[in-house]
Symmetry: C2
Subunit: 433 residues, 2 copies
């Protein structure tokens, strides 16, 4: 098969070089991979197509490390409510009605929003995961997928759900040209009995897969864990063996110094969800302390029902802003660190070794921002602009696995108009059932 | 003169009705004024032009109540630095070099960004204000303008600056078809000696103008006020007579209960600047307490050097999010309240009686968001979507004083390409001088 080789010239590129984080030059892509990036134009064979990158800022694609894509169907359905009312009166009754078709269209809506906003990889933990995988396959996106299992049910139902999670993880691992990876995911320590979590740990060992769970999102659930099991969630999960697997925990808002040490010692990654944590009033995670301790901290949007968008530029900006404001330290989480949280730390959190930076040998997952706009001027510091000034709609083009997925803001792989129509119809159907 | 009358039909409109905050219907505009808004189509004379509002959400134009527009020239020039280093090594040396031409192009850049992002009115406190007024005149925007005076200088210089502030306020009040109003503005209690502030108060009385100042942005400046004058800033300004004038204070991050009471009793409005306060690590203002006490709290971006954009959608969202997260109360600042802070409370903060809401008799300052996008679906609650999901680039059209200023995202009154080029050149010039 002939190699598909092409070149971007005259672009600005965010690279992994602390001394010179932005270079002006060119990048060569061959098939699904970046093979060159640098200031000098390499010698190019005739016939290789050259794309002009003038007025474009190329960045690694954004990696959203925690979410429930189908929940976009409930965007704006319940806001500004106390957590229990929101869950019990709004979310759970509606989610109980979700069919696989609802999951398909809700996920399609989210994938469309994420792609157009520069997210190239996302984690999804939900039900009807075959539908989610189907959307990933069709859309050209990269994803780490898992059936999230709530274990507050009879043993035979537990067994059925666990088998479903295992079958999904096995069947879809490496699918869609390798764009799909899978994980094993008990929903949370407060929704899964300890012996049930141990079965997930065993399955993850058997299948050599990483694990993901919600952890210490609210103060109340931490207190409940202490009441029920005598220890806080970190010690609890460590004791159940979870951290013997490569693990990613979502939220981790309420942590003691000792818990941060345990996470660091076990190389557990954290998905920080600032938008969702603020909106649900869960609190402000100790991100600067986690980073100082050497924990990999990435960013997630969580579901659109508690955010209410899937805009990773907003999450990067929130991460850069709130920890300054709350700590009183204006040097906390500088722009370059926020960008890493949204890209390379995200890839590391999903245990993907070949995405998250622009460098030779990495998968060609990257995005281009239009810098020829008022809020990108003057061209002082493009990384600062990407974090503190940009929004998701500044994304002009998106490539994943070397293939262009978004061109001048339009998605090439999905039928946008149909998805908008079907997602609205799915919500209307949920309301009327 | 013939009345210019036109109608929008089939639109969704944000109205001031707590029971039904969004209506689907139509709005009639005659010259610079809204003359009808409602669900029923009124009888319309033949020849009146009708605009289709399908897929558009019409909101009052956003009101940015604190900023320094020309500082957009320093966007990204210094980030993630301690406040004093940022000011003394980055901002002040560059600002000292600003010419009136720099102010003209920096302000043009900001006005372009604000207009395209749905801001129809802004407050500006800076130097070379004739240039700012000129940009306002040309752009079609509405603004409350004032020469902000720092009084740490010899008495003759103080006198000269005060006279400049007075002359500007007198000459430009009511100009540009009434779109320009003016205020009197000593920069801050820590940059103006008490007797100098009293002269501003006297001038405001003489000219019957409202007043604006920075107040209690940082803990350090509050402590300095106590050291220098024996009282905290609120009591200090009250004692100097400022609150005998209609007043707006910017920031007000560090307040005691007693200070909140004084502000409420004196009907002093507060411009809350969440983005800037977080980025400079000034702290989190007591916004829910201020609102509870009956204080009018509006939103400002502050200058782009400390934000780093002029996106009022971001400020509304930050206001709705951070006070939930920090207080632990998910019902704090609901979406509808955040929208009011960005619109009608903003108008009230600038003492403008006829902008800030969509209602008959109000000036026709309004914007239209494109709701036919993934992140606006499903159409559950358009006000929630505008606050929690939208971004400034969802603004499709902008009208000010009945005149269309932005059409399909493009500014009709300003030369965008030239402004981008000149703003970059102005920054390059500052660097090289």
């Amino acid at each position: 098969m002939k190699t598909n080789k092409w070149v971007i010239k005259n672009g600005s590129f965010a690279v992994s070089n602390a001394d010179k984080p932005v270079i002006h030059g060119c990048m060569v892509i061959e098939d699904d991979m970046i093979t060159y990036i640098g200031e000098e134009m390499p010698e190019i064979e005739s016939g290789v197509s050259v794309v002009d990158g003038t007025h474009l800022f190329f960045m690694p694609g954004l990696v959203n490390t925690h979410g429930h894509a189908a929940m976009s169907l409930l965007r704006g359905y319940g806001d500004d409510l106390a957590l229990q009312i929101w869950l019990e009166e709004k979310m759970w009754p509606m989610e109980a009605k979700f069919t696989s078709s609802d999951v398909y269209w809700g996920t399609s809506l989210s994938v469309l929003e994420m792609l157009k906003g520069g997210t190239t990889t996302f984690l999804d933990m939900y039900d009807h995961m075959d539908q989610v995988a189907k959307v990933v396959e069709e859309s050209g996106m990269r994803a780490s997928l898992m059936r999230g299992v709530i274990g507050l049910c009879p043993e035979d139902v537990q067994r059925h759900k666990l088998n479903e999670a295992i079958a999904f993880a096995r069947d879809w691992k490496g699918q869609a040209d390798g764009r799909i990876t899978t994980m094993i995911s008990p929903h949370a320590p407060y929704t899964c009995p300890p012996d049930f979590i141990e079965k997930f740990v065993q399955a993850a060992h058997d299948m050599d897969l990483p694990m993901h769970t919600h952890m210490s999102e609210t103060k109340a659930e931490v207190e409940q864990n202490v009441r029920d099991y005598g220890v806080r969630p970190v010690a609890h999960l460590e004791k159940l063996g979870m951290f013997s697997r490569p693990s990613l925990v979502a939220h981790a808002v309420h942590l003691t110094d000792e818990e941060i040490e345990i996470l660091a010692a076990n190389h557990v990654a954290v998905s920080h969800n600032p938008g969702s944590n603020l909106k649900l009033a869960s609190g402000v995670a100790r991100v600067t302390d986690l980073l100082k301790a050497g924990v990999t901290v990435s960013l997630g949007t969580d579901g659109a029902a508690s955010n209410n968008n899937l805009d990773m530029f907003e999450e990067m900006r929130l991460a850069a802003l709130i920890h300054k404001g709350v700590s009183g330290d204006p040097t906390a989480i500088p722009a370059a660190e926020a960008l890493k949280m949204g890209t390379v730390y995200g890839a590391q959190s999903l245990f993907l070794r070949n995405v998250g930076t622009l460098a030779p040998g990495m998968k060609a997952d990257f995005i281009a921002l239009n810098t020829d706009q008022a809020h990108f001027l003057p061209h002082t510091d493009l990384i600062s602009h990407a974090i503190y000034s940009a929004c998701s709609k500044d994304v002009e083009h998106v490539w994943i696995n070397g293939k262009q997925i978004v061109k001048h803001g339009a998605c090439l792989t999905l039928d946008e108009e149909r998805i908008r129509r079907e997602a609205q119809a799915a919500f209307d159907g949920l309301l009327s059932r």
